[in-house]
């Protein structure tokens, strides 16, 4: 069988094809780790890179993520007894007062597609909720999204709140959203900023390694 068909199916957002090839791969006892890391994640990385370069669009990312999810669902039951370990655990939310969720959901899809375990808290998330979620899920990274000037300043409050409860050094904090900039991220002492869902993944990997 040709596992490159799986890569192509995910890259081109073909759910049925991705599921079909994944089933074939399972029936031939190919290790889930190989299927995921060498083909599925690679396809997500490629579609992410195309999105960042402006040659793919949000709908393409969503279709790829949908195909990836379809395949992952079949592989999940087999993963307990294999040595697939998530890249890290990430808690993601749009901050308090802000309802913009499209970009945040894309960041979730890309992180998930590239091997992170993601807890998507939704929109309008207060500092208390972020902290609670980090404690509950023992997360390594917090991703905050904000699309409004006011809510972007709230990010600083969340970072301060992590400081106040003594958890700041236990988590890496990434921020993003349309009105933000690298400078702003530095100003509020976030650990990282990126302006798109693809570079969010490389940033998360870098932070996990640091």
């Amino acid at each position: 069988m040709n596992l490159y068909e799986l890569y192509d199916a995910i890259l081109n957002g073909k759910l049925e094809k991705a599921v079909e090839v994944t089933n074939q791969a399972i029936s031939q006892s190919i290790e889930p780790q190989i299927i995921i890391n060498d083909y599925m994640v690679k396809a997500m990385e490629e579609i992410g890179a195309r999105f960042e370069a402006g040659s793919a669009f949000v709908p393409n990312l969503l279709m790829s993520a949908r195909a990836m999810k379809g395949s992952l669902e079949i592989l999940k039951p087999l993963m307990n007894n294999s040595n697939v370990t998530p890249m890290g655990k990430v808690v993601v939310g749009t901050v308090k007062g802000d309802l913009h969720d499209i970009g945040k959901n894309l960041v979730c899809s890309m992180l998930e597609g590239c091997g992170f375990e993601v807890v998507n808290l939704g929109v309008d998330i207060s500092s208390e909720k972020f902290i609670e979620a980090v404690k509950e899920h023992k997360a390594n990274i917090v991703c905050m999204s904000a699309l409004l000037t006011t809510t972007m300043t709230y990010m600083k409050e969340v970072i301060d709140a992590f400081e106040n409860v003594g958890l700041r050094k236990d988590v890496k904090i990434m921020v993003g959203g349309a009105p933000l900039s690298e400078d702003f991220a530095n100003e509020i002492h976030a650990d990282g900023y990126s302006d798109n869902a693809n570079s969010a993944v490389s940033l998360a990997k870098k932070l996990m390694a640091s």
Binding site: P59, H100, D101, T149, T153, P179, D195
Partner: protein, 354 residues
């Protein structure tokens, strides 16, 4: 300086892409909550119970702040049965062909007019001399599609049911023709020009692929542009985000002016240099500046950059890159308004001493 006399013919010059005598102010919208915050008067509850009171308060605020015209859009999405998917967090009422066939599109015009008529009539009654509204039917074609399906599901529909995706946009286009035809026919007296808002972009790109926007959305926009032009009026498009890849096609479909800009996407003079030879432009000042800045910093920036924009542009009206939501600082907003008054005084001085 004498009290400012609004003159809608002044702002209209921008739509003809000519340099107005007096630098006009423009906003896509000023939230009622912001007006309440700035004036200390509560009135927003009266929109349905006493629309004349509501619009007198709103229009008076625009007038006091030296605008020639103010925004009013009668919302389309808000009368859609089971509306709200555009806000995220839920799927819209149309997810498949069956939902589409069943959806009560035919009832929408009557729902729309039941909501819009009292407001339009109230505006007609309270319009001050020299002022008119701009706007018309609220929400764009793409926004209606997002409200009926949900953005993410619409993206999926594009691939898994392309026929439904095509038919949906065509159906929305037909609905827009019905609503806009009546709007232009019956309310042209209260609008100085018409405007549609349809956010087609985000920070780094368009919300759908440019080819999809050109094939499915712009032809519907063009129907509205044509209705407006046939009614003898000018058309302004408000569209947020990075839409440079479709701007040539948008200009080609006949818009007279464009609004919305964000500094993280492009500096405003880029908009002027790229497009102002063909269309009028509004905006210039990112919402970030008006939310984070204080009176003095905003005043100085707007005098400096505003004078520059007015200097290099033909048709140009100054304002925020988007709108004045509740969270904009009242001081910073006043800084912008006072700066425009200063630019006008400077212009006067130069003209009088020529």
């Amino acid at each position: 300086m004498d009290k400012y006399q609004p003159d809608y013919r002044n702002i209209l010059e921008v739509l003809y892409n000519r340099r107005p005598k007096v630098l006009p102010l423009y906003e896509h919208h000023i939230d009622a909550a912001f007006i309440e915050k700035a004036t200390g008067q509560k009135f927003s509850d009266s929109i349905n119970t006493d629309p004349e009171l509501y619009f007198s308060k709103v229009i008076n605020f625009w007038k006091e702040n030296t605008y020639d015209a103010f925004d009013f859009e009668a919302p389309i999405c808000e009368v859609f049965p089971d509306h709200g998917a555009i806000l995220g967090g839920k799927a819209g009422p149309i997810q498949n062909r069956e939902d589409f066939d069943r959806y009560p599109f035919d009832e929408i015009p009557s729902l729309f007019w039941a909501n819009a008529t009292p407001k339009l009539e109230a505006i007609r009654k309270v319009l001050p001399q020299g002022m008119k509204a701009y706007g018309g039917c609220g929400y764009g074609v793409f926004e209606s599609a997002q409200d009926l399906v949900g953005y993410e599901n619409l993206c999926i529909m594009q691939f898994v049911d392309p026929d439904l995706f095509r038919d949906l946009f065509a159906k929305i286009g037909d609905l827009y023709v019905t609503l806009w035809t009546k709007m232009v026919k019956e309310y042209s007296d209260i609008f100085v020009f018409f405007r549609m808002g349809d956010d087609l972009g985000h920070r780094t790109s368009t919300m759908l692929a440019p080819e999809i926007i050109k094939t499915h959305i712009l032809p519907q926009h063009k129907k509205v542009v044509d209705i407006v032009h046939e009614g003898g009026k000018k058309f302004l498009l408000h569209s947020c985000g990075n839409i440079f890849s479709v701007m040539p096609d948008i200009i080609e479909m006949g818009i007279d002016a464009k609004h919305s800009n964000e500094d993280q996407i492009a500096s405003y003079d880029e908009w002027i240099k790229k497009y102002n030879s063909q269309i009028g432009l509004f905006g210039g000042f990112d919402v970030n500046i008006l939310s984070l800045g204080d009176y003095q910093s905003v005043y100085e920036k707007v005098v400096k950059d505003g004078t520059y924009f007015r200097g290099i542009a033909k048709g140009y009206g100054l304002g925020s890159g988007n709108s004045i939501p509740e969270y904009v600082s009242v001081d910073a907003y006043r800084g912008m308004i006072d700066a425009v008054k200063q630019i006008r005084r400077n212009d006067n001085y130069i003209n009088n001493n020529k």
